[in-house]
Structure formats: structure tokens, C-alpha cells
Amino acid sequence: DAGVTQSPTHLIKTRGQQVTLRCSPKSGHDTVSWYQQALGQGPQFIFQYYEEEERQRGNFPDRFSGHQFPNYSSELNVNALLLGDSALYLCASTLGPGARAEAFFGQGTRLTVV
């Protein structure tokens, strides 16, 4: 049973560029959430997708956008990259947006902006 998979694992981008990160949820899960984790900090919620729509959003600017596909996989896009966007980006999946069961996380994508 495949868990949550993310790609790529590492990425280096230049300030001002755009980046797309990808996530496939755990088999049987239909809800994907994205988190940003800066070094030495806990993960911070970016947004959540369910039924191909953004359902909830954290305190992140519009430069952060996403998409969910019919097969439940998801993308996170970040435009006009800033040095401060350097972080580990985590994808988490659950079964339904309202369930109380645990969220399963992927291994993350380490984004470095230079």
C-alpha cells in the first residue's frame, strides 16, 4: 500500500522564479493538505483540497496556489519566489476533510531559493 508520495525531493530555484511541487495521496484518501516547514519550526498549514476545490487556506499570500486532479493528486505552485520561501514543503492526506483520523505525511520537498 503506497503511502503519500511527493516529487521532487529536492529543488533549487532562483529568486523570482516559479515552482510546482507534486503530491500523490495515500491509497484510499481523497483530501490533500499542504504545509510549509521552515528550519527548526513546526509545519504551517498552507491550504487544503477536496473534490478538486480549495476548502481551507492558512495565512499565506496569493503567490501560493494549488490544484487537485480527479485522481486526488495535487500540485502546489509558488510564484515570484522569495528567499524566505526556502523550506520543507509537506503534503498530507486524509479520508475526507471532516474526519478526525490521523493525517499521513509524505517525505517532503526541500525547496532552496537562491
Binding site: 498549514f45 487544503q48 498530507a92 475526507g96 476533510p97 471532516g98 478526525r100 490521523e102 493525517a103
Partner: protein
């Protein structure tokens, strides 16, 4: 403001030296509290979910407990392989499952 605070920030133990990690929370209504383990450069790995005060869960050398204001993660006779950052997260009433509020974590080092 909803908040999760973990203490200590870092903890160094000798192998076999038991201790506890603390997670205190201030939320409008607790829907669930989660403990995760995170190894360097990797995603969080689920450990426990607690839903109501007085609840306890155990897994190998770890035991999680919950009160109305805080949760403890007790580690009994730790081994070097228990070294990791332990994250606490809460799900609030009205928030969906994915919208977790995390603490900054406790970095645990266990020396042989």
C-alpha cells in the same frame, strides 16, 4: 489566539533514562491532539491520536496522555533510535482534518 507550545525545545537523555515531553495548547475547542515523530529531512510519522481528557495511548516505549490543557509524551527507557524531533498538533472544532496547528517540536537526543 489558538496556540500550541512544546517544551523543552531540546532534551538530551542517556540510554535508559526515562523522561516526559510536554505539549500545552490553547484552542477554542479541541477536536483531537496528535503526536508525530520527525527524523531530519523527512516527513512527520504518525504516533498517536488523543480525543478527550483522561485518554492514554501506548506504543512500545512511548505513552501519550491528555488533560484539558496539555498532553504528555512519556518515554520509558529510551534507546538511541528514539532520537528524533517529536511534534504535537491539534485539530480545532470547526477545522477540517487537514488543518492542524503544530508546535515547534522537541528535539530528543538519546546517547548510548
Amino acid at each position: 489566539e489558538d496556540q500550541v507550545t512544546q517544551s523543552p525545545e531540546a532534551l538530551r537523555l542517556q540510554e535508559g533514562e526515562s523522561s516526559s515531553l510536554n505539549c500545552s495548547y490553547t484552542v477554542s475547542g479541541l477536536r483531537g491532539l496528535f503526536w508525530y515523530r520527525q527524523d531530519p529531512g523527512k516527513g512527520p510519522e504518525f504516533l498517536f491520536t488523543l480525543y478527550s481528557a483522561g485518554e492514554e495511548k501506548e506504543k512500545e516505549r512511548l505513552k501519550a496522555t491528555l488533560t484539558k490543557k496539555e498532553s504528555f509524551l512519556h518515554i520509558t527507557a529510551p534507546k538511541p533510535e528514539d532520537s528524533a524531533t517529536y511534534l504535537c498538533a491539534v485539530l480545532r472544532d470547526g477545522g477540517s482534518q487537514g488543518n492542524l496547528i503544530f508546535g515547534k517540536g522537541t528535539k530528543l537526543s538519546v546517547k548510548p
